[in-house]
């Protein structure tokens, strides 16, 4: 199968959906003439023109609101946030409007919309530019939140998000934009809410998402050399959360380490931990451990940044602790 970079896979999904459905369009800062701050939308303006690849003024709250209005009356907008950090400015439009209009209006109005962009740390972009925002969004009923970690999923989850009749958030990752992987040609849909087992193992389950998937796979490789066989699960969707796939794995391994970049307080990792301790209490041989970003704002200093985000060394440490319990 041919290989694509993650950013090309995202672009292919958007392009194919825009060809398929003329109601779909993309808007955001620099998505058109500049080809996207991270070149995800490269070439799309030339292909679709300014009415479907729209450069907007710098106002996240503004264009989120504009897109929500457009979605209410039959269009299907894709809204790019240059990074998810900036979505904080648009939070009210997402939280109180996109998410709630269907329910508040008794189903009279719907908002089929995709919000997308890179999430989490980049490289030395410091405290205001490195947020892992999933903790905030995965909390909200009415939203779906997906986090592709491979090029194939970047295409498949993006296409599913665009076709979904609900607001869907696609949390991409700047550090993954350049990775390559096999991507099916033509229609490729990855269902939202279904996790993927990335590596089979029998002794400890590692559940993770996004950029922490390759980090966890690297850790699993190191651990295998020590004779510890880990099963690595890529959740892919944080809402809905496929805890069933994790529970099945934990019933086999008896151990669970959850790895995420976001802060430790609450969030999808804590949610998963709660579900697994309820559903698999009799199978657990050790406490569930979360290996997370440190509970502090992201430092700019390279060394300190490395220490703040989980790496393969911290993941192996967590797994060893669980194995030794």
């Amino acid at each position: 199968m041919r290989e694509l970079r993650y950013r090309e896979a995202l672009r292919e999904a958007m392009t194919e959906e825009m060809v398929r459905d003329e109601r779909v369009f993309i808007m955001g800062e620099e998505v058109g003439h500049y080809q996207g701050a991270y070149k995800v939308t490269e070439g799309m303006l030339a292909q679709f023109g300014e009415k479907r690849v729209m450069d907007t003024p710098i106002a996240e709250e503004g264009f989120a609101g504009i897109a929500i209005g457009a979605a209410m009356v039959g269009l299907r907008p894709i809204v790019e946030f240059m990074t998810w950090n900036f979505s904080a400015v648009a939070f009210d439009q997402i939280l109180s409007n996109a998410t709630k209009l269907r329910q508040m209006s008794g189903g009279q109005f719907t908002v089929p919309i995709v919000f997308r962009g890179p999430n989490g740390a980049a490289r030395q972009t410091a405290a205001q530019h490195s947020h892992a925002m999933e903790t905030f969004y995965a909390q909200i009923p009415g939203l779906k939140v997906v986090v592709p970690s491979t090029a194939a999923d970047a295409k498949g989850l993006m296409a599913s998000a665009i076709r979904d009749d609900n607001p869907v958030l696609v949390l991409e990752d700047e550090r993954l934009y350049g990775i390559k992987g096999e991507v099916p040609e033509g229609e490729h849909l990855v269902p939202i809410g279904v996790a993927a087992v990335r590596r089979a193992g029998t002794q400890c389950t590692i559940a993770t998402w996004g950029k922490m998937v390759p980090v966890s796979l690297e850790a699993a490789e190191l651990l295998a050399a020590e004779g510890v066989q880990c099963e690595v699960i890529d959740l892919r969707s944080l809402r809905p959360l496929d805890h069933g796939t994790v529970a099945t794995s934990v019933r086999k391994t008896g151990r669970l380490v959850i790895v995420h970049e976001a802060w430790p307080y609450g969030g999808p990792g804590a949610e998963l931990s709660d579900r697994v301790q309820r559903d698999c209490f009799d199978s657990l041989r050790a406490p569930i451990v979360r290996c997370t970003g440190r509970d502090a704002s992201m430092p700019y200093n390279k060394k300190l940044e490395e220490l703040t985000i989980p790496g393969s060394a911290t993941v192996t440490q967590a797994v060893r602790a669980v194995m030794a319990y």
């Binding site: 369009f25 009415k51 907007t56 003024p57 106002a59 709250e61 503004g62 264009f63 989120a64 609101g65 504009i66 897109a67 929500i68 209005g69 457009a70 979605a71 209410m72 009356v73 039959g74 269009l75 009210d92 439009q93 109180s96 409007n97 209009l101 269907r102 329910q103 508040m104 209006s105 008794g106 189903g107 009279q108 109005f109 719907t110 009923p141 009415g142 779906k144 979904d164 009749d165 609900n166 809410g193 809905p240 959360l241």
Partner: protein
């Protein structure tokens, strides 16, 4: 440039009026107002006044949870309902929801939105005075103050992209002009040149904050200048003036000439809401001054001056409208509580597994006794 917009050549200080002090209409505009239209305006303003009074009573009796009175500001919502095409989009703020009544939305179904029972199209999920109706293309405002205005601009933009004839009208109060979403809406509307009208009802008070504490600009209409769109200042207690300003702004939008900003200068005679006591922060003398410019009284005097209202007819009509409203309330109060599992409907387009699970959990518990009727 059309007449009213020309009259707003000075959005700083101009004030567009049609009803003159002697209760006749400005001859330049009189031809646009037939007896039938004037009768309709008068009747709708009166109905909204009577409805408000009745709804406040039932709020105080604890039959509904909250109510946002319109008193003194009826001209704008009524003029909006009459001036627009039936399928134009309306995004009201707190005091313009009644535009949908003018467009034929059923009165009891409207009142039901304050009860949130089985008669409510919103299924009991939205708080009172946040009126929505898909049937009349009206979308509830956001309690957070302002977010509905960029949404209205988005609708207008979608109409433009799809080459549809409808326009969108977004409302806000003077307080909301301080919000980022006011700026967002104004800027996007002008930059994208969308078919919309943004209307600020300047009622002089954002709860307890006076409009002069909200802006240092001489008028709200003057803000339009910086965004590159016409700003119009209209007497918001003059139904005819508001009607004509909206007509012209809507026609301009439909011709593809872009958005217009209208400042409707009015006054909130009543409290901000049923949770507010304005005597604590404003001078009764000021309220009295505005009572003398009451939009209903002015409309009533227009009617009398034209010989359309005979002695005693006002009181008879008010009583008749109150009877209609009481009958509509009686219909709503026959409704039952929404089914408890309906909590999980419309969260998503279809019910996901985790909500199915929560619904089963809820249904497995004994039905709780809820206030005001049977449970299901």
């Amino acid at each position: 440039m059309t007449k009213v917009l020309a009259s707003a050549q000075d959005p700083m200080f101009g004030l567009f009026r049609v009803i003159q002090d002697d209760a006749t209409l400005d001859p330049a505009y009189a031809a646009h107002f037939s007896d039938a239209l004037l009768e309709r305006m008068y009747r709708e303003v009166l109905r909204l006044r009577v409805l408000d009074e009745r709804m406040l009573v039932i709020q105080r009796q604890g039959r509904i949870g909250f109510y946002g009175e319109v008193k003194g500001q009826e001209a704008t919502p009524i003029a909006t309902g009459l001036a627009l095409e039936a399928d134009d989009w309306i995004f009201p703020a707190l005091r313009e929801g009644a535009a949908m009544l003018v467009r034929g939305f059923d009165l009891s179904t409207y009142i039901a939105q304050c009860y949130g029972n089985s008669c409510d199209v919103n299924k009991g999920r939205q708080m009172p005075s946040h009126y929505s109706g898909r049937a009349v293309n009206q979308v509830s405002w956001s309690s957070c103050i302002g977010p509905q205005v960029p949404q209205a601009v988005g609708v207008a933009w979608a109409m433009k992209l799809q080459k549809k004839p409808q326009i969108a009208v977004g409302f806000l109060g003077d307080g909301a002009t301080s919000q980022a979403d006011f700026h967002n809406a104004m800027n996007f509307a002008a930059v994208f040149k969308v078919p919309c009208v943004i209307i600020c009802q300047n009622n002089h008070w954002a709860i307890s904050v006076p409009s002069k504490a909200q802006t240092a600009a001489p008028t709200f209409a003057s803000k339009a200048i910086a965004y590159g769109m016409p700003g119009v200042r209209v007497d918001g207690n003059d139904v005819c003036a508001v009607y004509w300003a909206i007509r012209e702004a809507a026609a301009r939008a439909r011709r593809g000439e872009g958005p217009t900003f209208i400042e409707s200068v009015t006054y909130r005679i009543g409290a901000h809401s049923s949770s507010d006591d304005p005597s604590r922060y404003r001078d009764e003398a000021e309220v009295q001054q505005w009572r003398e410019r009451d939009p209903l009284d002015r409309m009533r005097r227009v009617m009398s001056a034209r010989g359309l209202l005979t002695e005693g007819a006002h009181e008879v009509l008010a009583a008749q409208l109150d009877d209609e409203i009481k009958a509509a309330i009686a219909v709503v109060e026959q409704g039952h509580q929404p089914q408890r599992e309906s909590i999980f409907e419309d969260v998503y387009a279809s019910l996901p597994w985790h909500l199915r699970e929560q619904r089963e959990e809820l249904l497995a518990t004994a039905p709780a006794v809820t206030h005001g009727g049977a449970t299901h």
